[in-house]
């Protein structure tokens, strides 16, 4: 299969050898599980349990609300200790409503609905409903509700389901291990998703630095003529949806459009496996594979972690920390976000936990820009980071928006190559946040204006009605007075 070139990108030191030969091990059930109501993009889920309730494994804890949302289920049986505000696994350290479960150690399953007998005879609608009921979100890290993404076939003509096994972030090996150990499950999940989407072709894209995964997936896919497994060049950020699509189809996704408009839908390998579990066994998403790595970790591992496990429990399971880490990162080192503390839970979008030493973080002072143009050459989106950052530094956000800062997906390649260590991607994250704020403010202002106008019209109408009523009353009085003066004897007789 022909692979098309993708512009820009970098070749960081991958350091995947720390954990790539470590088979996935299950995490022993911790003392407590913390399940935030928002582990996905969209509206937070609505809790259906309260403190003191007894729940079984797989039971619904919080129901999806609105069009874009995802449900959460109990990863084990136990008692709900509380539903409280707990620090979110987010760099802000802000609290979030979280359901806390005390496991009872029995790990008793709730009664699950019967699995779909033949998924390939089932309707697309039924598969989507099952996937939504299982609370599955994109496990690559974006955490977009998968059922919504499986509905893209209704508005677009789709050609290809692209299964993303690129895993271009350094350190992370969870997708690599899933593909090696559960290749049949991934392929089955992908076939079910392709059936729901109505795509004739399935392509599995894997970076060439994972030969064992390519071999395993090729073997698992050999029975199906519509599935192709391809190796894609080792080039960060190949795992980005748009860039992988470009490498496979040669088509560039236009700004502010979806890959679906090119006929391609991209799902992560972990998501495919979760769909397999949801459809074949009716099992909701209760755990995910997490890579724990980094120089400060005693022993890096790939672990099948129940959702809601504290990062501190995970680190303890890996033998603790050898040295105090300079930074704890949630996700990969390029796009991952620092964690405020170890006392935050693993959620659906946690692909890795990295405890990085000062050497690995390699913080250096920012120096003036030497205008080498390195960031322009490597930007995989074809943007001009140096110019955008100059605008943002002077708070000219509209200028940066004109240059396309909203099309930046924060891959961090520009910050990585900058010889002056300018925190370019940090500037863009800040600008994107401010521009989103401004957009929200604009929408609010429109709403306020509309409300004020509605009120004004109402007040005017009321005033007019009052005037009309007063005039009518006055006229009636006048008429009555006139009538009375005409027939004074009548009045006297009354």
């Amino acid at each position: 299969m022909k692979i098309f070139p993708v512009r820009g990108g970098i070749h960081p030191d991958y350091r995947k050898d720390l954990t790539c030969e470590k088979a996935i091990v299950p995490m022993p059930m911790p003392q407590k599980l913390y399940l935030p109501l928002q582990q996905h993009i969209g509206a937070p889920a609505d809790p259906v349990v309260g403190a003191g309730d007894l729940v079984k494994k797989g039971q619904l804890l919080a129901r999806a609300q609105g069009a874009v949302s995802a449900s959460t289920h109990a990863p084990t049986s136990g008692r709900i200790a509380e539903v409280a505000l707990i620090t979110a696994p987010h760099p802000s350290g802000l609290p979030q409503l979280t359901i806390v479960i005390e496991p009872d150690g029995k790990d008793e399953w709730a009664e699950l609905p019967a699995p779909v007998a033949d998924p390939f005879a089932a309707s697309s609608q039924e598969i989507r409903e099952r996937v939504a009921a299982a609370g599955i979100v994109g496990l690559g890290g974006a955490t977009f509700p998968s059922a919504v993404k499986l509905n893209l076939g209704s508005q677009n003509k789709l050609e290809t389901l692209l299964i993303n096994g690129a895993e271009c972030e350094p350190y992370l090996t969870c997708d690599d291990r899933v593909m090696r150990e559960y290749s049949a499950e991934v392929i089955d999940g992908a076939r079910i998703m392709a059936h729901a989407l109505g795509t004739p072709k399935i392509v599995v894209g894997i970076e060439e630095n994972k030969p064992q995964a390519i071999a395993a997936m090729t073997q698992a896919a050999s029975a199906f003529s519509n599935i192709t497994v391809v190796g894609v060049p080792v080039q960060y950020p190949m795992g980005s949806e748009r860039h992988l699509t470009q490498a496979i189809t040669g088509l560039e996704t236009p700004a502010k459009k979806l890959t679906a408009e090119l006929g391609v839908v991209v799902h992560n390998v972990g998501t495919a496996r979760a769909v397999h579990h949801a459809i074949r066994y009716s099992r909701p998403l209760l755990s995910r594979v997490v890579t724990v790595s980094g120089g400060a970790i005693t022993e890096g591992k790939n672990i099948d972690v129940p959702l809601g496990t504290l990062v501190s429990d995970l680190v303890a399971f890996c033998g603790g920390l050898k040295e105090p880490p300079r930074r704890i990162v949630n996700g990969g080192p390029m796009m991952g976000q620092p964690l405020p503390s170890l006392e935050v839970p693993v959620v659906k979008g946690t692909s890795g936990i990295l405890a990085l030493t000062a050497d690995e973080v390699n913080e250096r002072d920012t120096k003036p820009c030497i205008r080498c143009g390195g960031c322009v050459t490597i930007c995989p989106c074809g943007l001009v980071p140096v110019e955008m950052a100059a605008f943002i530094r002077k708070d000219n956000l509209d200028g940066a928006a004109k240059l396309g800062v909203m099309d930046c997906f924060s891959c961090g390649s520009c910050s990585y190559v900058c010889p002056s260590h300018i925190p370019l991607v940090h500037f863009f994250n800040y600008a994107k946040g401010r521009l989103n704020d401004a957009d929200r403010e604009r929408r609010k202002l429109e709403r306020i204006k509309m409300l004020a106008e509605t009120r004004n019209t109402r007040v005017e109408q009321q005033a007019q009605a009052k005037k009309a009523a007063a005039a009518a009353a006055a006229a009636a009085r006048k008429a009555a007075a006139a009538a009375a003066s005409e027939n004074p004897e009548n009045k006297a007789s009354v």
Partner: protein, 178 residues
């Protein structure tokens, strides 16, 4: 000499006539800048700027009689937009931006007098006479008119809390400046 005077008089007469006609037929009614400025203001007619409503404030801005920082609920964002539209450099560093706010009714103090509900220009209050009132937060833009009329000080103005979805990173290096 006569030719020069004659031609100048002729030119003056012609151009004068043309300008006279043009001023009658191409006249601009009102100041178009006013309408543009009005579109930038919140339009809630809260009157905190000291003018009767947003229309009067826009007129004063167009005449250059009011500072661009006049609108408290609009905050820094509106001030920035106004200064851009008017092409004036406003010193926004001194402008105290309290950030977005909303009104909150402390239920134990509310006597249900409805004054706040009558004052509110966006119908953000829910309440009936002698019943506790409350504010629909999405409809409140923090103009604080209700706060001023409440006889029992039951209303407090709170900062809109930052949520996980709205949080964003600070500007790089901004910590070092402060």
């Amino acid at each position: 000499m006569l030719i020069a005077v004659g031609s100048l008089v002729a030119m003056g007469a012609t151009l004068g006539t043309v300008l006279g006609i043009a001023s009658r037929y191409l006249a601009v009614e009102g100041n178009p800048l006013e309408a543009e400025l009005l579109a930038l203001l919140p339009g809630a007619q809260c009157g905190q700027c000291g003018f009767v409503g947003c229309g009067q404030a826009a007129a004063a801005l167009a005449r250059g009689e009011a500072p661009v920082t006049l609108c408290p609920p609009g905050g820094k964002a509106v001030a920035e937009k106004l200064s851009k539209k008017l092409g004036v450099k406003a010193d926004l560093s001194e402008h105290e931006d309290k950030g977005p706010q909303f009104a909150f009714v402390q239920e134990d103090l509310c006597i249900g007098c409805l004054r706040c509900a009558n004052e509110c220009s966006t119908d953000a209050f829910v309440g009936a006479p002698k019943q506790v009132h409350t504010v629909i937060r999405e409809n409140c833009h923090g103009c604080a008119k209700c706060f001023k009329v409440c006889p029992t000080e039951a209303i407090k103005m709170c900062a809109v809390p930052v949520t996980l979805g709205e949080w964003h990173w600070d500007k790089p290096g901004s910590h070092e400046l402060h």
